[in-house]
C-alpha cells in the first residue's frame, strides 16, 4: 500500500492508502477528521468542500495521490477559536439548521473571500451555488456573506 505525507491544517500526516482513494475518506476514515461531510461522492453537493492551496475543492473527487505537497485546509483548521470572519458572520445570522452542509458552505465562502475580498453578486452566486442545502439556509447565507465581507475589511 503506498504511503502519502499530507499537509493538513499546517500539520504533516502520513497515511497508507490506495492512490485513488478520495481525500474525503482519507480525512474521515483514516485520519479521524469528521468535520468534512459526505453528501453525494460525485462533486455535486459540495458538503465535502475543503481548500487546496486556498482554492475550494470537493474532497470526494480528489484522489489522495493527486494532493502532493499542496496545503489542505479543512473546517477543523479554518480558525483556532471559531472566529474566522465567515464563522462570525454565520453566528450572527444564525445560518445553520441541521448544519450538515455547513462545513462545506463555510469553507466555500472562506475560499471565495480569500480569493476575492470584494466579490460581485455574480461571483458570490457562482461560488455559493456549488454547495447545496436542503434545509433552506440560503437567505441567511446571503446575509452572512455580506457581513463577512464587511468584517474582513476591518484591520
Amino acid at each position: 500500500m503506498p504511503s502519502y505525507s499530507l499537509s493538513i491544517n499546517g500539520q504533516m500526516h502520513t497515511v497508507e492508502a490506495p492512490g485513488e482513494m478520495p481525500l474525503l475518506w482519507v480525512l474521515r476514515d483514516l485520519l479521524d477528521m469528521k468535520g468534512t461531510k459526505y453528501g453525494c461522492g460525485l462533486g455535486i453537493c459540495g458538503s465535502c468542500m475543503i481548500m487546496v492551496e486556498g482554492k475550494a475543492k470537493t474532497a470526494c473527487l480528489l484522489p489522495v495521490q493527486a494532493v502532493g505537497k499542496q496545503a489542505i485546509t479543512t473546517i477543523e483548521g479554518l480558525s483556532g477559536n471559531n472566529d474566522h470572519p465567515i464563522q462570525q458572520a454565520w453566528r450572527t445570522a444564525h445560518v445553520p439548521q441541521c448544519g450538515y452542509c455547513q462545513s462545506g458552505q463555510i469553507m466555500r465562502a472562506a475560499a471565495l473571500l480569500q480569493e476575492e475580498p470584494n466579490p460581485s453578486p455574480e461571483q458570490i452566486e457562482a461560488a455559493m451555488s456549488q454547495v447545496l442545502c436542503r434545509c433552506g439556509t440560503y437567505p441567511r447565507i446571503k446575509e452572512a456573506i455580506q457581513s463577512a465581507i464587511q468584517l474582513s475589511k476591518k484591520p
Partner: protein, 724 residues
Amino acid sequence: MNRRLFLSTATLASGSLMLGIKARAQASFPPTIDDFQPNRLLVFQKDGIIRLITNKTEMGQGTNSSIRLLAAEELCVPLDWIHQEVRVPADEGFVGTGGSWGMAGYYRGARPIFATARQLFVNAAGQYWSVDPKQIILEEGEFRHPTKSESVSYASLLEVASKLEVPEEAPLILAQAFKYIGKSHPHVHLEAQLNGTLPYGIDQQCEDMLYASIERCPVTQGKLKRFDSTAALHFPGVQAVIPLEGTSWEAYDYFPAGVAVLATNTWAAQQGRHLLEIEWDLGENQKLDNDFIQRHFSEQLDGKGVVFHQTRTEPNASENGTTLTAIYDTPFWSHSPMEPMNTLAAYTTKGCELWTPCHMQSRLLAAVKEVTGFSDRQIKIHTTYLGGSFGRRLLVDYAIEALLLSKASGKPVQLLNTRIDETKQGHYMPAGKYRLESSLKDGLPTSLKLKVVSLSIYAQREPEQLKDGIDHAIGDDFLRYPYAIPYVQYEQMLASEIQIPALWWRGTFANTAGFVMESWMDELAHSTQTDPLAFRLALLTKTEDLVKIRGEETMDKSLFRGVLQEIGRLSGWKKKRKKNQGRGVAACFTFFESYAAIVAEVSVKGNRLKIHKLYCVVECGQVVNPNLVRAQIEGGIVFALSAMLKASITFEQGEVVENSFGDYPTLTYKECPEIEIHLLPSERPACGVGELSNIPTFAAVTNAIFDACGLRIRSLPLNQYLEV
C-alpha cells in the same frame, strides 16, 4: 402567588447573565442533598444548575433549544442556569418527533409542569421564613420577602422543597411578562455547527468497527438469485460480503434484498460493491414505469371511489351555470436529506447497541426487539444529531440492516447509504392524480366535485389506520380550505396496486392538496374575471367562523381570512404588475393548527421563469423563538421550491431513473428567491411551523405563472413546461 410579581420588565444585563446570580446577600445554609427532581423534566442541583430533560430529536428545527426558553420563563431564572439534557429513552412510553407538534406540545404540556415546580420552591421559601408563600417575590432565580434582608435561591431550598408535596396546579407566567418567549435565541448546537465538531450519525465510531455499503435489488420485492463476491473480496480493505434477504413488502420498515460489502473504510466498501456480480429475480414490479402508473391513476379516476366528504344533496343541473373541469397531477418526490441514512450497530449474543440518526425511537426499539428477540434491557439506543430528515428518518430500515450486518459479521458495523442509494431506494412522497369539477353561477362557485387517487402510506404500512376504506391522511387536507361552496363531494381511490414504498414527507398530502385546491380557486376566480385574492375573501365571509374538520379539529375562518388580508397588504397585492411579471396567492390551514399565506412574484420571459420574491404571513399562535420559527418558514419555502421546479422520481422497468442531485436537483443558492416573512401576533398557544410554509408555496408560484403569462400549470415539476 401574586402574578404581578413576575411583571418585571428589566432586561438582563449581560454581566448578570454571565455570573448567573446577582451579587447580593445569599442565605447560606448548605443543602444536604446534591440534587432534587420534582418531576420528569427538571433536576435542581445544589450548584444552582437546573437540568432540563427533554426528548425531542434535533434535525435542524431546534425544538429543544426553544423548550429551554419555556423553562427559564416559568422558573423565573436566567437562561444560562438551564442546562439542557436531551434524553430520548426509547423505552419510556412513546418517543418520537414529528407532525410539527414538538414545540406546540411542550408549550401546552410542559409549562404547567415548570410552573408547579416554581410554586413548590415558592412554598419552600415560605416555609423557610415561616411566612405566607403569597408574599414571596421571585425574580431572576432569587426568592425574597419584604421583611427579610437576605434572599434564597432554588439551590439553597433543595432540602426544604424535597420534603414538600409538589402542588397540582400553579399559575402560568402571563404573556405580557415574557422575558424569553418571543425573543430570538440561537440553536444550542450553533458553535459546534460552525467548526464541524457536531457529531452526526455518520461520524460515530467504535473499536474494531467495519464500514458497510449495500447493493440492493433495484425493484421492489425482487429477490436475490445468486451473487459472486470473488472480485469484491480482492479489493484492498474489503473484509466480508454478506447477503441480506430483505423484508416482506408489508413490513413497517420495508427494505429490499441486498448484498453488503464490509470493509475497513467507507470507500473500500463502496468500491467493493462495483465488483460484485449479482443476479436478481426482479419479479412482478418490473412492470412499474411512468406510463403504467399514469394509466393506473387514470383508470381509477374513471371508476368509483369512496366518498370521504360531502355536503347536502347535489343541486340539479338546471341550477348550474357554467362548468369547469380539470385534471392535476403530482409526482413522486424523494426526501434527500444532506446526511444519507446510516447507523453504527454493535451486536453481541448478550445484547446490542445502536448509534442511529432516527427520530422514531420507540419504533426502532420495537423493530430491534423483533429482529433480535432481546429484552428492553439488552438494547441500547443512542440518538445522534440528524443531518436533516423531512420524514425519511421516521423509518428505521437502515438501522435494522446495520444490525443484521453486525450480527452476521460479529463486528460493529457502520452502514452508510450512498447518495445514489438515497435517490434510487428511498421511500417516496406518493404521487397522485386529481380530477376537479365546479359549477359557477353569478360569479360564484356553486359546487366542487373532487376525485383524488394516490398511493396510501397507511394502506401500505398501517392498514389498521384506514377507516371504512378511507385514508384520512389523504383526505383531510382537502377539508382545510374553508371557502363557502354550497355543494362539495370529495372522493378518493387508493392506488394499492402500485408497490412503490410511500412515506411521510414534510407536509405530505397537505402539499399536494394545497397545490390542487389553491390552484383551483385561482382557476375559478379567473373564470369569473375576479381578482383571486378578492375572490377568496368573498368566499370566507358567508357563515360562522369556526369550522369542524374531523374529530376535535376545528379551523377558525377568521384567521384564514386574516393571513390572506395581511399577505395582500405585505405584498402590495394591488400594485401594478410590469410586463411579464405575475403575482400569485395561496393560503393554508394545517392539522398542527397554524395558518399561512404566501404571495409569489415571478416573471416569465419567453419560456424562462424567474421567481423573484415570496412573501409569507404566518399565524402560528405564540411565537416562542422567532429566530427558529423564521428558519422553519424559510426552510419550508425552499423545500417546496426544490420539489416543484425540477425534481421528480420516475420509473423505468420498476427501477428509479434518477441518481443524485444531478438529475434530482435541489434548489441552489442562486435560484433562491428573496423571502419576506411576517409573523402575526397571536393570543393562541404555540402551534407548529415545521411543515407550514411549504404548503401554499406550490400554488402561489403556479398562480403567479398564470398571472404572468397565462400558462396554467396543473402538473409538477415546472421544468416540463418552462426553463427554470
